[in-house]
């Protein structure tokens, strides 16, 4: 895996590496996944009524907005050859924290959002310090953080969900509510040709995706991160402050995860206790599927976004066809396996030619 990465993560855009004439296999590697996506869209449009409509398209974006944002965060950690297992529980901790700030402390939406973002950054900082300074392997450090957060988010409420009217441990009743401007983050819809079409969460996803793409592909910082991911020692010898970039990657991951949690809270309108494991798995799957898009064979923002959409389209289509949940898990797994084969087997062969 490592030697492949070194070839592909040179920082040269994928297009620059393409050979003059695309052979069949190259074509399959580059466009296979996008063609599969188009095929799925056509299949579901024919198989179900109501799939091919602007509203349906917006639903798909909305259903993947949260996992998509988390996936973009985990992409950063993958780029520096790390991994963040704590994103799911960071998101649910942000969900609980925002509910706590709003309902129990009765503060306003801005405080809630600021508190969550600060918490996300702090979690990322701790993750980064654990990995860089104490040399704990990334998987283990973030695994520990995951458990820590799952427990921590339940301590203030003694394991209960947060909702207006709940009794607090001291016997008083929580009177705070989710203010409209906070709920708008998850529920407000902007007019776009059709009134009330695009949810704010989708706009946030698109903005974040473009920002992440710009940072990773178009700035020096992004290229240095890829350089660290492909060969940390070489990057360090070339004068890159590896430790700082790694910590920043985990902080970005934490902040994006907490944004996902804020959107989740705004959609649910309450502080639900949840482990966030499914959020973690779905977003990691999206990021890994992203490796295969355009034959990138490395973590990348565009691929991650397409990966998240791919899963969203599949689930939306299957649900509309009344497929039970276990077939959906099966299909999700199958897509991931195919994507990984694309990435590692096919791209690997191209590298040997």
């Amino acid at each position: 895996m490592n030697d492949k990465k070194q070839q592909d993560a040179t920082g040269i855009p994928a297009a620059g590496r393409a050979k003059p004439a695309l052979s069949g296999i190259d074509f399959a590697i580059r466009y296979g996944f996008l063609i599969l996506l188009a095929g799925l869209l056509i299949f579901f449009s024919m198989a179900t009524s109501g799939f091919a409509s602007p509203r349906s398209a917006v639903f798909i974006f909305q259903s993947v907005a949260i996992t998509g944002i988390l996936a973009l965060g985990v992409t950063f950690t993958l780029v520096v050859d790390g991994f963040d297992l704590s994103i799911g529980s960071t998101a649910t901790s942000a969900l609980m924290l925002s509910a706590y700030v709003l309902v129990v402390w009765e503060m306003n939406a801005y405080v809630a959002v600021a508190a969550c973002l600060a918490m996300g950054a702090l979690i990322g900082l701790v993750n980064g310090l654990l990995i860089v300074k104490t040399k704990v392997p990334d998987l283990l450090a973030t695994l520990g953080m995951m458990f820590l957060l799952v427990g921590l988010q339940r301590i203030p409420t003694q394991g209960r969900s947060i909702a207006t009217g709940m009794h607090l441990p001291d016997g008083s009743v929580a009177r705070g509510t989710f203010p409209p401007e906070f709920l708008a983050l998850g529920r407000h819809r902007l007019d776009f040709f059709i009134p009330d079409l695009i949810p704010l969460s989708v706009v946030i996803l698109v903005v974040i995706a473009i920002a992440v793409w710009l940072i990773l592909e178009r700035t020096r910082h992004g290229r240095l991160m890829y350089a660290i991911g492909s060969n940390e020692r070489a990057a360090a010898l070339a004068g890159v402050n590896v430790a700082r970039y790694k910590i920043v990657a985990y902080m970005i991951s934490g902040v994006l995860a907490s944004i996902g949690g804020i959107l989740l809270a705004a959609r649910l309108g309450r502080g639900d206790i949840a482990s966030g494991n499914n959020l973690l798995l779905d977003s990691v799957a999206a990021a890994l599927i992203g490796f295969a898009v355009l034959g990138a064979a490395k973590p990348n923002a565009f691929g991650t976004a397409i990966g998240a959409l791919f899963v969203g389209i599949l689930l939306q289509g299957l649900t509309m066809m009344n497929a039970p949940y276990y077939t959906q898990d099966f299909v999700k797994g199958a897509v991931l396996v195919v994507a990984l084969v694309f990435t590692f087997a096919l791209t690997g062969r191209r590298g040997k030619q």
Partner: protein, 349 residues
């Protein structure tokens, strides 16, 4: 050893006396072993995460406190093997009685047998341990579903297009499903146009995504039967997002403070839910165990009857949380189940 023999003697003595004079002849009105405080009992749990289980625990604690019993809580957190081990830990601890809360029949059957062999009384909540000596405490899931569906028929007539949220393989959901299948047979006008459901965490968010797709495919649905409150929450989010909250009514099971506020929102589609108070279920579990310890028989099936809670009732009585609900709905605050005369009840707020 001495202690055990003395306690045993007391127990036998107490029981003989109970037969002779009746329970009221005792100091404090309580039969042995509860005439002395500090009777050791244990709660061995399989499920603990979530509002329902938290409230259940609070009921168990309140009733144990009223009995002045010494409660030990073992929490296996969905680990079936660990739960069986915890039964053995409780046995080693020398408890007099054990409440088994959820679990798998396969792993708990033998563990419960070991406890019974050690002379420990056992009651089981929502797990079938297949033992005639163990009373089964249940919230009646079939009645829960029936109450909600009867309300759906009162509100919407005998024919409507319905969406149904269900995940097979979860015992209470399976029992609720039986009732749904019966209702569909009984009322052929009920047309189930979509079935969906997932237990992906956070459940409400995942179900909302599915429900959005379902509403897109079947915009003519007027009734959603979501017999688990997390499902109902998810469906409500989707209905609100699709702007169909005036067209669709949601019927569910279970209730919590958060559910109450969701039901009371302006133009909320969540019309009714049927529920037993989990705290009451916890109290009844301990009371059934206490009766066994005092040598009485709570019966093999200890069933806690559910209550129907409508959106209208909540609004009319300005109910904001579970405590308000218990005050305004006495049948919800307390179940007249397993209450012999001597049984001390937890204080009611």
């Amino acid at each position: 050893m001495k202690l055990t023999r003395r306690t045993l003697l007391k127990l036998t003595g107490g029981m003989t006396a109970a037969a002779a004079f009746g329970p009221s002849a005792f100091a404090g009105g309580m039969p042995a072993p509860f005439d002395k405080p500090g009777v050791k009992i244990a709660l061995v749990r399989y499920l603990s995460t979530g509002d329902f289980f938290q409230a259940y625990l609070s009921g168990v604690e309140a009733q144990a406190k009223a009995l002045k019993a010494d409660l030990h809580v073992f929490d296996s957190r969905q680990d079936a093997a660990l739960q069986a081990d915890m039964m053995d830990q409780a046995i080693a601890l020398g408890v007099k009685g054990i409440v088994v809360q959820h679990g798998l029949t396969e792993s708990m059957q033998a563990a419960v047998k070991r406890a019974l062999d050690a002379g420990i009384k056992v009651v089981a909540f929502d797990v079938n341990v297949k033992n005639p000596q163990v009373p089964q405490v249940e919230q009646s899931d079939r009645d829960l579903a029936r109450l909600a569906l009867e309300q759906a028929i009162r509100d919407n007539g005998e024919s409507f297009k319905a969406g149904y949220v269900y995940v097979p393989g979860i015992a209470p959901l399976d029992r609720r499903d039986e009732t749904w299948q019966k209702f569909k047979k009984k009322y052929p006008g009920i047309q189930e146009v979509a079935q969906f459901g997932t237990l992906d965490n956070p459940i409400a968010n995942s179900v909302a995504n599915q429900a959005r797709s379902v509403l897109q495919a079947h915009p003519d649905i007027t009734v959603m039967f979501a017999p688990y409150d997390e499902f109902a929450k998810g469906v409500k989010i989707a209905v609100d997002e699709a702007g169909l909250n005036k067209q669709i009514k949601i019927y569910s099971a279970d209730v919590s403070t958060a559910d109450i506020s969701a039901m009371r929102e302006k133009d909320s589609a969540w019309a009714a839910t049927a529920a037993t108070n989990p705290a009451v279920v916890g109290e009844v579990s301990v009371r059934a165990l206490a009766m066994l310890l005092a040598g009485e028989d709570p019966g093999h099936n200890v069933i806690i009857p559910p209550t129907l809670i409508t959106r209208k009732f909540l609004n009319d009585n300005d109910i904001r949380n579970m405590e308000d609900l218990a005050k305004k709905m006495p049948q919800f605050a307390h179940a007249d189940v397993a209450v012999p005369k001597w049984m001390p009840l937890p204080p009611r707020g």
